[in-house]
Amino acid sequence: MTVSRTGPLPTTAYDLTVVGAGVVGCALARELVRRAPGARIALLDAADDVGEGTSKANTAILHTGFDAVPGSLEARLVHEGSRQLAQYAAESGIPVEPVGALLVAWDAAQRAALPGLAAKAERNGHRATRIIEPDELVATEPHLGPGARGALDVPGESIICPWTTTLAHATQAVRAGVDLHLNSRVTAVTWDGCGHHVATAGRGTLDTRWLVNAAGLHADTVDRLLGHDTLTVTPRRGQLIVYDKFARDLVRHILLPVPTALGKGVLVAPTVYGNVLLGPTAEDLDDKRATHTTADALDRLRAAGRRILPPLVDEEVTAVYAGLRTVTDQDDYRIDARPDQHYVTVGGIRSTGLTACMGIAAYVADLLADSGCTDLGRARDLPPVTMPNLGEAFPRPYQDPELIARDPEFGTIVCHCERVTRGEIRDALATTIPPASLEGLRRRTRARAGRCQGFSCGAAVRELFGRGNGGRA
């Protein structure tokens, strides 16, 4: 059990190596260690923490897959993965709220599209959808803007904490023996006929018999390092606005746009932290680092928010962020095995990757076994993990009298907006995969994630995080 961020990588060869510690790579590393308890398994990432790419900046929705392309690999893995993840979340303390979704039609064309979407949901095995008329819609969502023509009610669509999901998988994998090597960007791969020599930027070389590319936005780059030029990943930027917790009572469901020929609109969704999300935009870019927000997009989002849920935009904005999701030339995942090269590409994992991560992991493990990877056997159960709860629908430490009686640090609130205690921060710094930055600490505890964004607690949290970081953390 190792987590490394600096120094040369181990010289002993690995049996299996996963490149990319996003939610998919972490779920896959966990699945591999379940099936190959004796194997040496490595999980590499270019960043200094797990889930630093698309996995940290998305809409945080656990989909049912009602609108997937029927018969596609994505539809299958979303269908399987969503059930597995819902169960895993319940076992591991990942906050999930099954609030359900409403696809709200705002004009005649969108209203006319609802029966087709219901039929598509049915083909995807989702039979509980129904069309609701404006009267019922307004009764269930009284703050909705004027002009809604009806909606498709999709029970089962849920909100989830994407950070805890990634961390739970990674934590369980590492505890079961996976070596997690961070700050390890792969720069070259050499295949010698029985194994790979994987060169990294700054941390030397790692040898592995099997290699899985779960590099997300950079899956095409890694593919090319192995001589394959069949995958092109285009980053699609989504900018999102997070509204204050006082907006939470304005909305009960995930309010989804009805997809039309003119593209997808933006959604309004509660978060498990008790905020409300507005977004995302959909901007196809060239630059895979372009996670900055823009004034035009924020204006457009606010205009859309004012139409969908007018009182929302009167609330304070807590955070603004942008994430890049993967787009390829196909309307499906691109998971390809190259058995003669001991190599699998997990490419084209689009915005459904969070939902499908466990389905993808099981599928890829099967694919590796079918490709001749003899390390993999039957899955065993791993010791369960219990993640710190970041969700408002479940008890938080400051609310637990017995916990505070045992340890008064859980009664001492440091981050007041999010009610994060000194005990939670202390524990997060001592976990299996400790944070490398204040942002990493935020994703593990919510400290500094609230409406004041550090005005009140920023300095105190930085002090707890450690003065050794010179304030640059």
């Binding site: 927000t293 004034a295 009298p401 009664g411 009610r419 964004q453 550090g454 304030g471 953390a473």
Partner: protein, 315 residues
Amino acid sequence: MTPAVRRVDVLVVGSGPAGLAAATRLATAGLDVEVLERDQQAGGVPRHCRHGGFGTPWHPLNGPGYASRAVRAAENAGAAVRTGVTALGWADATTPALDTVGAHGHERIAARAVLLATGARERSRAARLIPGTRPAGILTTGELQQSVHLFGQYVGARAVVVGTGRIGHAAVGTLRRAGVAVAALVTDRPAAPRDLDARLRLGIPVLTRTTPAEILGSPRATGLRVRRADGRTAVLPCDTVVLTGDLAPDHDLARRGALLLDPGTRAPATDGASRTSRSGVYAIGNLAHVTWTARMAAAEGRRVGAVVLRDLGAD
């Protein structure tokens, strides 16, 4: 589990200038007064304002000196000032009773009057909708002053200060004391007399009628793009951006208690004598007024003392 209920005459939430002044006045009159402070030290925002301007012309004080005097005055008058205690919310929909938590656990405190003195905060970069990257090095004056004065943390090498009000100029002072070069002051307003001092005495460029347009750099800030009123833009290289002023009331408890808000400031609406829409609940200091100085807030705290005494029939 229903927490134990304790009763006091007056519960003050927040130990800044307004809360402490009110507590001092009411405790002096013989009432059983308790002040709740969520931080580990009492005193409020003045605690981390090292600059002068507090106290009176005859007895000048800096912020920490002012804060410790105010805490002592309240305690000497007989008020209990409890730090590290958070008021989480209201016990029910109507009575002036609050649920609290601290290292000792949970407690419900019922009072004859609750004075909300929770202050105001500067709006964050996100609340100001400033686009760009999300690097380290973007902070408000409140965080800056605590970093420098309470913890002696490293802030940065070169800062741009947004806002030229009282707080913006205080931020310049804090940055200079921390050894951070101030590259520029940026304001959407025309030049004010105070700005001349920065320009002439300190040699800091003051960009008037200018707004922040984009934050640049990652993982650390490398610059701030600004836009002039005529539409021209320029990049100011810096590793730190301090966002000052633009205050919002810290109205969490007020909203949890369904108090009527002023539609403009979103501070609790009051009747002119600090009474809110909820019986037995008062709002004072910058929770109600957002931009007042410590002296004005303390004066109101003393005034509300008389109002509460009258309302409780204790005068």
